[in-house]
């Protein structure tokens, strides 16, 4: 029975399992993309921080115009900075996920060989320890 179960599993693993693993991997990238709101932050990248904006007073006042301009530039810069932090974090998380996912994918593809290899290596090592 055991060999039948093993071969059954192998059949599932290569016919269905690998594609399910790829889908799960894709889902995790999708999740990180949305979790760090990368698209939203990218779209509003140059907008002021929390929409905070100074308004120009009535009339022509150079000092006021300059003040408003500087303040709004600063607010936009702060907005960009904060968004950048989230975007960088998001990109970093995606890279980590890609790395871990790749390892797991390779492990899954090579699973039978890897398993056999690990079992053999384990036996060799155990023999070595006790000899």
């Amino acid at each position: 029975m055991a060999p039948a179960v093993f071969f059954d599993f192998l059949r599932w693993h290569y016919l269905v399992g690998i594609s399910k693993l790829l889908k799960a991997w894709g889902n995790l990238h999708w999740f990180l993309y949305h979790y760090f709101s990368i698209d939203t932050l990218a779209k509003s990248f140059f907008e002021p921080f929390h929409r905070m904006q100074e308004r120009k007073r009535r009339g022509f006042d150079v000092e006021d115009i300059a003040g408003v301009l500087i303040m709004n530039t600063v607010l936009r810069f702060i907005g960009m900075l904060v968004r950048s932090v989230f975007i960088i974090l998001g990109v970093f998380a995606q890279i980590v996920m890609f790395g871990v996912g790749s390892l797991l994918f390779i492990a899954a593809v090579l699973a039978p060989a890897l398993l056999v290899g690990l079992v053999v290596a384990s036996i060799v090592q155990v023999v070595k320890i006790f000899s």
């Binding site: 059954d8 599993f9 599932w12 693993h13 269905v16 399992g17 399910k20 693993l21 799960a24 889902n27 995790l28 999708w30 999740f31 949305h34 979790y35 760090f36 709101s37 939203t40 932050l41 779209k43 509003s44 907008e47 921080f49 929390h50 929409r51 905070m52 907005g79 904060v82 968004r83 989230f86 974090l89 492990a107 899954a108 699973a111 890897l114 398993l115 690990l118 079992v119 290596a121 384990s122 090592q125 155990v126 070595k128 320890i129």
Partner: protein, 826 residues
Amino acid sequence: MSTVTVINSYPWLFRALRLDRIIAERVRVFIMTVSFWIVLFSGAAEIISSFFKVSALNGYDDLLLGVSFVSGAVALLFWLVEFFYRSNLVPAFVLEREGIQYTFSVETSRLLMNAEPSVLARDAIESLPIFQSFARLPLTDLLLVRLGIPREAFEIFLNAHAGGVSVLASEFFTKVCDRCDKERTQGIWVSDILAVLMDCDALWNKFLFDAKVTREDFVAAALWVEYQFSEETKRKRWWDRSQLGQISGLGKDLGFGYTYHLDMYSHEVWPGAMKYARETRRREIEALEQALSRSYEANVMLVGEEGSGKHAVLEGLSQKILEGSAPATLEFKRMVMLDYSSITAATKTKGDFEATMIKLLEEAVAAGNIILIIENFEGFLSSIASLGTDGLALLEPYAATARLQIIGLSDPTAYHRDLEPDGKVTKLFEKVDIEQPDANRLLMMVEDAALIIESRARKVFTFQAIKKSVALADRFIQDGAMPEKAIDLLESAASSVAVSKILIYPEDIESVVEKKTHIPTSKAESEERDKLLNMEQLLHERMIDQEEAIRSVSDALRRARSGLKGNNRPIGTFLFIGPTGVGKTETAKALAQVYFGDEEAMFRFDMSEYSQGDGVEKLIGSRDSKIPGVLASRLRERPFSLLLFDEFEKATREVHNIFLQILDEGFFSDGAGKRVSARETMIIMTSNAGANLIIELLRVQKDSAVIKQSIIDEIRTKNIFTPELLNRFDEIVLFKPLPKEELVKVAMLMLKGLTKKLAEQEIIFVPSEELAARVVEIGYDPIFGARPMRRAISDRVEQVIAKKILGGELKRGDTFQFASEDIKNL
């Protein structure tokens, strides 16, 4: 009907579930986790030892490597197995008929696979292995508790069920697919398998019957429990988008503004704990999304009765926004409930208030992601109107554009009365009605709430108790709307049952309703059953003669309490016709005493008071005056009572017309448009119409049926009552004038009443036949019947006794009887 074919006799789901029989899931997860950490630590130690030459690890290199290899192999193996297991925990396509494919749920597959792994390849289905497998299912214990079936009783059934039955597989699965087609679903649940077994296995059917579990209850409870388990199973595949999507993200609000001031006068609407809210209120949530997604005037007036679930709809939308499954136009929106009473309390003048409101609205607009919710919208308008502010004019500049979305909450009465007439409201706000959910959705909502109450009160509701709460709340609780009325009953039951008692049964719900409404909701108990069976005898303790009338009324009541009466009409509706003083009112009083246990349960309406144009208004209330009607108030205070409408013919035709609906459907709408139920009420109307004709006919005709028909014809011909009204009574009861010999008995009954009054003063009064005959002689009037006899007793008999008490002739402890001489002198 074509046959069912098995398209996959051993789906991957079956193979995955088989793993549970080899190693339990929790053991697998434990081994996987432990081996993962071991490989991590041993691997790290090996690397440190190799590269950094740590002296403490010298000599352990081989051991660390060995541990890494072994634990690595175990971790990899169990990871692959667990991924295989969890990936396959999804319903599997198994059967096909006429091009339609049917799926087995995870628990159905577990049930059948554990019964017999090759069940789908067999020609016959055996019931016993399925029951044995059912006994081991993870959901079974909870299901048995929900159904109020002790586990021991189920074990006894299993042990007694030697052999079971065998059914042809094709026949069995055809029945299962038939059930699915009937329910318009392609998913086969545990309940479907066990319900079909009820048709095949008489013992299983008998077991549930003995446990007082109906097929409908079993199926509904099993579905509910399995649904909870399927949610748990879904969570195991945490990498699915449906699960990952439920986690809210970071930095989503960075693109939107702060709302310092608005936050001071509002609170956020977060997703509620009700899991089914979205399912059960899908239509309303979608309507809300659609209206809020418009490019301008994207405002909604959510209209529903208090307790109908307006907040559940808002919470459902909030959940969708948070998950990111709402339309793109609503992405990242914040739903904020305005606390306008705090604003009015904090501001003293119109100017202050308007300035604050404008500041808040501007802030909401500037933030760019606010959906402003105003509860009790008509109350908001009237409250700020008292400050002199026109609320709609204030909101219009914001509500008319896409700058801000507003959701107003209102109830139907207030909406029609205060908001609808204002064109601005209908122009700016799209109305979304909270509909009364159908029975299934209602049950789901209450089940949902029951789980929350259970976790708080540490009690468990049986399914029948939940179902009972829905039925009784709908029928007996007058105020509020469903599902809140039913949820309130569950709350009350959870807090009223003893702390030591964990399970809450339907009887507990009944007792809560009885306490709240004074209506005996439980089935006729033995005492009441005796009362109903001996109704004629009990009524005759107070009533003399009128055999036919008493029999008619008793028959109608027995029909009502035995469950033969539909629930959609009053308990009984009678028209008592006959001359005055023949016992019509007395019969009503006797009925109140016997049936409702108290004469006070009778409320008498003198219909001559409703003979003017304002009769209807006085009875049901008026929207303009806001004064509640007498009938509406009485029914709300005491729905389980007897209403006596004396001399009904004197009321206006408009009043008569109101009773067409009450007699037929058991409810009416009061002046404010709210529904008032009279379904637990006995309604008796009396009329003297045709009294003279009765007396005349009785002289020449003895057959009561003929006399009654003649009277009804007379009433109809003279248009005293319309045929529509007459046809709606359960019974038209004819009261005949009492012959003189019967009147002596009536006088005796009246004198016994006097005996009771004197007994309170500890004086024993012994009335005699002679005295009763004298009362009849003094008081009898062929036109006024027995009524003047009561006056005769008070004017003559009581007068004599009063003088004796005041004169000291009669004292406490004395026994008094009228002497013949005294009787003659009366």
